[in-house]
Symmetry: C2
Subunit: 144 residues, 2 copies
DNA sequence: ATTATGTATGCTCAATAGCGCATAGGAGAA
DNA sequence: TTCTCCTATGCGCTATTGAGCATACATAAT
């Protein structure tokens, strides 16, 4: 019934969950939990809980590869979800620019297309430091 | 920022509010508060509160005509809201069939295109009784 | 077997949501 | 003005939510 649809909206009513879906849409591929954690800069347990809710709303699905778990958008024949995804994809880029910058950097750490490091690793900390500096420089130039 | 978008999803995450939007989409015209109350069969104060939230999320707008207030969908140039409305419009009809049957009957009580009776009036009670009986008959026939 | 690591889940707490009820605004009628 | 009627809102209550923390679970490596 209608609950199915309000549930989907509820799943998307949280900022973090909306960012996750937006990230998955933008990436166009399945993302490992730790990649999402690092891209959003949120805690592992909260990301995990939010992923569970999105899965419950049937918006994403998981794929387990040993101890690694990746999540991807769950497509469906029904028009409703398609339009919702389109709506989210049409959100202005600015709303999640930082997430995307971080994801791009994080994906750069993949080996043979696979995530090989956990969340908040030292390696990631180093990369994050670098791109954060770039952002700051950008900011200075823009506000000059 | 992203809050604007999560706010819209939050506004739609409630069953009653989703029904209201669905009803407005289906009706294709502005509806008086008491018409919405009677169509949904919800209390006046709750409908009013929900309308306020929908308005806060910038999904609907009000038009005051004396002591009568009607609400209509708020269109906008931005793609996001358009897609969201399309998504809701694509929801299967069955989810709010009863609402629509009641609205149709309620609109039949308009005079010169205007709502002229308050919510839960005797006149409405009579009409409601009639259409409820029809629904029951339908139900019996279907489950025979 | 033991340990390490990626992910999930209880638990608690503060904040928020939605309902019912009573009542307040506010515009028109008497 | 006073009354009536359509709509909005403050209050109290209960239920739910999301965050942080610790910890459990599961798989891989030693």
């Amino acid at each position: 019934m209608i609950e199915k649809y309000s549930l989907i909206f509820k799943a998307l009513s949280d900022k973090t969950r909306l960012r996750i879906i937006h990230l998955l849409l933008w990436a166009g591929l399945n993302l490992c939990v730790c990649e999402i954690v690092d891209s959003l800069g949120e805690s592992q347990y909260n990301v995990s809980k939010h992923l569970k809710e999105l899965k419950y709303a049937d918006l994403i699905e998981e794929k387990k590869m040993g101890k690694w778990v990746s999540y991807g958008l769950k497509s469906s024949p029904d028009d409703f979800k398609k339009k919702i995804f389109e709506a989210i994809a049409s959100m202005p880029d600015e709303v999640t620019t930082k997430d995307k910058i971080r994801l791009e950097a994080r994906l750069g750490l993949r080996k043979e297309g696979k995530c090989v490091i956990g969340f908040k690793s030292e390696q990631w900390a180093a990369v994050l430091k670098k791109i954060t500096k770039i952002e700051e420089t950008d900011h200075v130039q823009k506000t000059d």
